[in-house]
């Protein structure tokens, strides 16, 4: 019913352990390098294991620590402590601003002071251990803010030196009112950054989520993350409210108490199946909370199916149908106009092509959505691919046909090579890619971010599908920005690289 994934239907989540297994172990395999047909990926997957390709050339593309910690910063009534050298958590320095950008008239809770600290590990901490400093930081965090939770994220440095974080937590917890939640997200822990999300949920399941006092019959957990906006979340609340349900948005924009009560919900839904997989299974196993993983509410059909699934699993099927009907009445005329506009974009009757997607969750849903809009998939990008999503990928291929997949975790060179080779009409990207968006054709955004609140930045549900489609159309209307960059700035990559037949370089491939 809920697409449990190919290799994990009988998975038992073991909360006795300090942390989860790595994603590549949970899922049978996890890869971050591949280029080829999606159908081939499914074929290989069915053997049960796909070997990692060791890269000769790699670029910085994030780590388990980074992706996990980013997702924890916005939790209210908590303090996040990075047990790490000072640089690891520097991207949180906007902590006093990010949520204040949300205007009060859009239902921003008035108290949204976020807090983060670093143990600022030094040379001598590396030699003698940093747990004493961690304990001091926990006590001080508690004194300063009296938070409900203190969330600790571990780093390469604290992991490799073997700091006993669990021991520190259990020895100091009696002195501290806040619930201490250690999350084992050392950067070097796993090549698959999804491991960090699993580790985060493991920490929540083990330490933070309370045993249910009562079932809240109208409460639905909606797992959302960094790459969805406040408006996307408000829209989730609005649509579920129409069905008589309350959306419990976790962990982005959540307060500690929202996480604590996840066990009392009647269902767990998600914006992203790979992000939420672990906690969905954990909540079902521990507290009998049912879940479904796919689809995500990106695009019209996907939104229909998402709402319908929630309706089915909460005994509100008729309500769901009614909501869909009402929403269609509102959005369908716009959808029709947009689709007609997209067909005409190229003028020669050919179908505009796109490279998009991001994580494997978006690969599954964006691809359907793009087809629905009348776009052709030049290739789909995904940060990684693992054995949890074999059935879903197979279903997707049945639905939209075969397509090229490029698995890379934010590798600028892969994407630059691929985009040059495929030359799609639209390349959807996000920042930091260096030269990847210097080109003659369209560029657009792959996703928007937390505090972006103009309706043009929404991306989920019907309204988001409209704004996304409008964005795709705009990429045809003026290309001077990327052309300026293309013509007037230097390319960082060599000619040799562009001639390389694959978008990645295998270890041993460089000839001296």
């Amino acid at each position: 019913m809920h697409g449990g994934g190919h290799f994990t239907t009988n998975e038992v989540i073991n909360l006795e352990k300090n942390t989860c297994p790595n994603r590549e172990d949970r899922a049978g395999f996890g890869i971050k390098t591949y280029f080829g047909k999606a159908s081939n990926l499914v074929k290989e997957s069915k053997k049960g294991h796909i070997e990692h390709i060791e890269r000769a050339f790699e670029q910085t593309g994030g780590c388990v620590f980074m992706f996990t910690t980013l997702r924890l910063y916005s939790i209210r009534n908590a303090v996040v402590i990075s047990h790490a050298p000072v640089g690891c958590s520097v991207f949180g320095s906007g902590y006093r601003e990010s949520m204040q950008h949300l205007p009060p008239f859009l239902d921003r809770p008035p108290q949204w002071d976020l807090h983060w600290m670093t143990t600022n590990l030094s040379d001598s901490d590396i030699i003698f251990g940093g747990t004493g400093k961690l304990a001091d930081a926990i006590k001080e965090a508690n004194r300063r803010y009296s938070p409900q939770a203190i969330i600790i994220t571990t780093s390469c440095a604290s992991g490799i030196i073997g700091d006993d974080v669990e021991g520190t937590v259990s020895s100091i917890q009696p002195e501290v009112k806040a619930k201490i939640v250690p999350i084992h997200c050392e950067g070097h822990r796993s090549p698959i950054v999804q491991t960090g999300y699993d580790a985060m949920w493991h920490g929540f399941l083990k330490y933070l989520i309370k045993k249910p006092e009562k079932k809240q019959e109208d409460l639905v957990n909606v797992l959302n993350m960094f790459s969805y906006t406040w408006l996307d979340c408000l829209e989730a609340k609005r649509l579920l409210r129409k069905m008589g349900l309350r959306a419990n948005l976790v962990p982005d924009f959540a307060a500690v108490e929202d996480i604590e009560v996840m066990s009392e919900a009647v269902l767990t839904a998600s914006f992203c199946p790979t992000f939420g997989d672990y906690v969905m299974k954990g909540l079902e196993q521990e507290y009998g909370v049912p879940y479904f993983r796919t689809p995500s509410p990106l695009g019209f059909k996907n939104t229909d199916a998402w709402l319908l699934k929630i309706g089915e699993l909460t005994g509100r099927k008729e309500e769901a149908k009614k909501v869909i009907e009402e929403e269609h009445a509102r959005w369908a005329p716009q959808v029709k106009t947009l689709k007609e506009a997209i067909i005409k974009l190229k003028g020669d009757g050919s179908i505009p092509s796109v490279i998009g997607a991001l994580g494997q969750g978006r690969m599954l849903t964006h691809t359907t959505f793009f087809k629905e809009l009348g776009l052709d998939i030049a290739a789909s990008l995904t940060l990684d691919y693992d054995g949890l999503f074999v059935e879903e990928l197979e279903e997707l291929i049945e639905d939209v046909g075969d397509f090229d997949v490029c698995v890379n975790t934010f590798q600028g060179a892969d994407q630059t090579n691929l985009v040059q080779r495929k030359d799609p009409d639209i390349y959807l990207t996000c920042p930091f890619k260096g030269g990847a968006y210097k080109r003659g054709k369209g560029i657009g955004w792959i996703h928007t971010l937390r505090p972006m609140i103009h309706p043009m930045f929404s991306q989920t549900f019907y309204s988001g599908a409209i704004s996304f489609a409008e964005m795709a159309i705009r990429t045809f209307k003026n290309r001077s920005f990327q052309k300026t960059l293309l013509n007037k700035t230097e390319d960082a990559y060599s000619e040799w690289w562009y001639k390389h037949p694959l978008p990645y370089l295998i270890f041993g491939e460089v000839i001296d």
């Binding site: 910085t60 906007g94 950067g187 060599s494």
Partner: protein, 444 residues
């Protein structure tokens, strides 16, 4: 005072680690390719954490997800990362164009004891291999400023050679850390321009046509100018010892006519430039600068005369800015919090600069503090009309202190800074434009 090299736990400090500082420093140069021998996230974290926080800058096409990185994992911790690094260096040279390649090793290889030096030396011996150096910059070795200094130390040790002859009029500029000093690009270009008026050629190292060529010219300069009360002094000393280039320390990039003239006279004094030539430049520059100053006079009188002011910034920004606002604009500095990490001996000179160097009867209380909670506490004790700080103070200024606020120091996530600079004769005017634009309103 801040104990030297004290690594306490901190809330939201206003700097990154040694790797972050060194990485941004390499990216500040042209045609210099960083190769991170580190965890896979380090470069992306610093791109988000430093480049975005210093005026929402995209890094160059060599930064962010384009930066080569060995992306070390558990298996490397167990078996070592040297082989991976060799392959990474060789492939990088094939894939990414540059004339200087800089290996920056992070926490993992430093803890597990990879012999990075040998790997780099072996590769460097290959005929026709491009310039390659290595700096050991684990995150726990220090902060962004330390990373800058470690990088320059590596340059001095591994790249620089005794020059054939001195280049007349060439001066090195040190002390401004890219990605940390939020106005680094604008300030450096301003300094080049103003020194140009004396016929001098500033070697900025950053933004020059080739980073490698600029670095190699360091030993042939006549003088090194440090634009910080402490960052880069170590490097300048070593450059002096090895290559005989003298140095002077100016506490920050000069803001406004007074400081800029003083700066020019001091530099000229070091290089035997006749005083008359300086006086000619000063007269012309000051004439325009002060005429323009009159144009903001009304706004200043109405909204900012004798304004009580708070400052929380990196030391070089804090000093130059406080001096300009106090000595030329009549503002009253109540409190200055130094948020970087000067060593003890420099802390004394900073405190002196912020006391004896100021013309007002009110002298600021000077604090050295890197913890953002404590900075908030300290600021809460004062009643001020304007605060010049980081963007962390933006909403506190609005909600708690009812004060005008301008981000002038790291992190500054509420403004885009590419060309912006307050340095030089007319830089102070731009500073006044920025702050007074937040104050002015129609009153009829």
């Amino acid at each position: 005072m801040l104990a030297e090299k004290e690594f306490t736990f901190l809330e939201a400090p206003r700097f990154s680690c040694a790797l972050g500082g060194a990485y941004m420093t390499v990216l500040g140069m042209e045609k210099a390719v960083p190769i991170l021998h580190a965890g896979g996230g380090c470069g992306m974290v610093q791109t988000m954490g430093m480049a975005f926080a210093s005026g929402f800058n995209s890094v160059t096409p060599l930064g962010g997800n384009a930066t080569p990185c060995t992306a070390l994992l558990e298996k490397h911790v167990v078996f070592g990362g040297e082989e991976k690094l060799k392959e990474q260096i060789k492939s990088t040279v094939k894939i990414m164009k540059g004339d200087l390649y800089v290996v920056l090793s992070g926490c993992i290889p430093s803890i597990i004891g990879d012999d990075v030096e040998s790997v780099v030396q072996e590769i460097r011996r290959r005929p026709e291999f491009p310039a390659l150096i290595h700096a050991k910059t684990p995150g726990f070795a220090g902060n962004s400023y330390d990373g800058y200094e470690i990088f320059f130390d590596a340059v001095i040790e591994q790249l620089l050679e005794e020059p054939g002859s001195k280049e007349k009029g060439l001066v090195n500029i040190l002390g401004i850390v890219p990605g940390q000093h939020i106005f680094w690009k604008g300030d450096l270009l301003k300094i080049k321009e103003v020194l140009g008026k004396l016929g001098l050629k500033a070697n900025l190292i950053f933004l020059e046509f080739s980073g490698l060529a600029a670095l190699k010219k360091i030993p042939s300069a006549e003088l090194t100018i440090i634009l910080s009360p402490w960052v880069g002094i170590k490097n300048a000393k070593k450059i002096k010892d090895k290559f005989g280039v003298p140095y002077i320390v100016f506490p920050g990039a000069p803001i406004g006519p007074k400081q800029t003239s003083e700066f020019l006279y001091r530099v000229a004094g070091q290089l035997d430039i006749p005083e008359e030539s300086v006086a000619r430049v000063v007269a012309e520059e000051e004439r325009i600068a002060y005429r323009q100053f009159e144009r903001v006079a009304d706004a200043l009188v109405i909204f900012g005369a004798n304004a009580p002011v708070a400052v929380a910034a990196d030391s070089n920004i804090a000093i130059s800015l406080t001096k300009f606002l106090t000595n030329e604009c009549g503002m009253l500095p109540l409190v200055v919090i130094i948020t970087d990490t000067p060593p003890i001996e420099s802390q004394e000179s900073i405190a002196t600069e912020l006391n004896e160097g100021l013309d007002s009867l009110i002298k600021p209380e000077v604090h050295f503090e890197t913890d953002s909670y404590k900075i908030r506490e300290i600021l809460g004790r004062y009643k001020f009309l304007m605060i010049y700080a980081s963007s962390q103070e933006k909403y506190l200024a609005q909600n708690e202190w009812q004060s005008l606020h301008l981000s002038v120091s790291f992190p500054s996530l509420d403004r885009v800074i590419v060309e912006r600079s307050y340095a030089g004769y007319r830089g102070g005017l731009i500073l006044l434009e920025d702050i007074l634009s937040k104050a002015v309103m129609p009153f009829v």
